[in-house]
Subunit: 152 residues, 2 copies
Amino acid sequence: MIRLSRLADYGVVLMTHIAGDAERPCAAHAVAAATRIPEPTVSKVLKALSRHGLLESHRGVNGGYTLARAPSEISVTEIIAAVDGPIAMTECLDADGGACSLETFCPTRGSWLKINNAIRQALDEISLADMIAPTLLFPPPAAPGERRRLIS
Amino acid sequence: MIRLSRLADYGVVLMTHIAGDAERPCAAHAVAAATRIPEPTVSKVLKALSRHGLLESHRGVNGGYTLARAPSEISVTEIIAAVDGPIAMTECLDADGGACSLETFCPTRGSWLKINNAIRQALDEISLADMIAPTLLFPPPAAPGERRRLIS
DNA sequence: GCGAATGAGGACCGCTACAGTCCTGTATGT
DNA sequence: ACATACAGGACTGTAGCGGTCCTCATTCGC
Ligand code: FES
Ligand code: FES
């Protein structure tokens, strides 16, 4: 029902991997090998991440990427936004100039803001550190055949 | 950063419209005219909604659609799910059979569940009634030039 | 009973946006 | 100098989405 682009997902996975690899710069191809994500794509995502100040890049031999901040200081929201760009949910007010013809008359707009705030808040509260850490908070792994719907 | 499909958005708008029109059946073309959404599309969305038991349809002359339940008993989640179908955010476990090769090894999976729960909960708490009602809870209308990002 | 209105349920199709690839610089360390 | 690795594009194929249309089933008014 709600879709997060795959690239954004990659972003999070890559960030967690780099976060787990201490301070040593991780080269793109190394991360690609570790995560099994095609290398050019990894490179692309990593570049986006670094362009938005979430990663620091080091060129040259033995170069690579390191986290720009502590894991606890990086929220999932930032990662997603860096990769996907700021795309609004409803596209009513997407770029500039109301694309939506109903604009002020539509009774749902105010409510969408409320919803978006709720979601953003939920996402903001989750830091990269939370992503690495305790899987213990969650129910035991699903049975093999079980099919988990992330969002109903 | 997170996208809700346009059809799903339409679904919510249409539902609120019908909810506002009391118990009299609303024909598809009437709703289309009122909402300025192209008629065939309205028809499509409405059909999906009724197929999932959120609307009741009445055929024949003076037929149309009415809410199947009270507005307060219909959550936004249901509407979106009815139109978009249950699509998970990360597609790691999208349909059946893990499409994601990392499956159990990926440290982020547990956390995604947490995130999804948070989002689902936020959405579940909002009923159709909430969508119609008080826009008063929210800050005053934005200044003309202001550009609101729904989700950063 | 007949015909108009209205929904049901598909088939169909163009297009955008996403995912993925590649190429040509530029910087850095050995 | 050279190998390594990032930077920043351009480019492309494709799936899914948004939108349209057509044919049947049902119900009501006349
Ligand atoms: S649908 Fe665009 S403002 Fe409501
Ligand atoms: S990326 Fe698929 S389970 Fe983590």
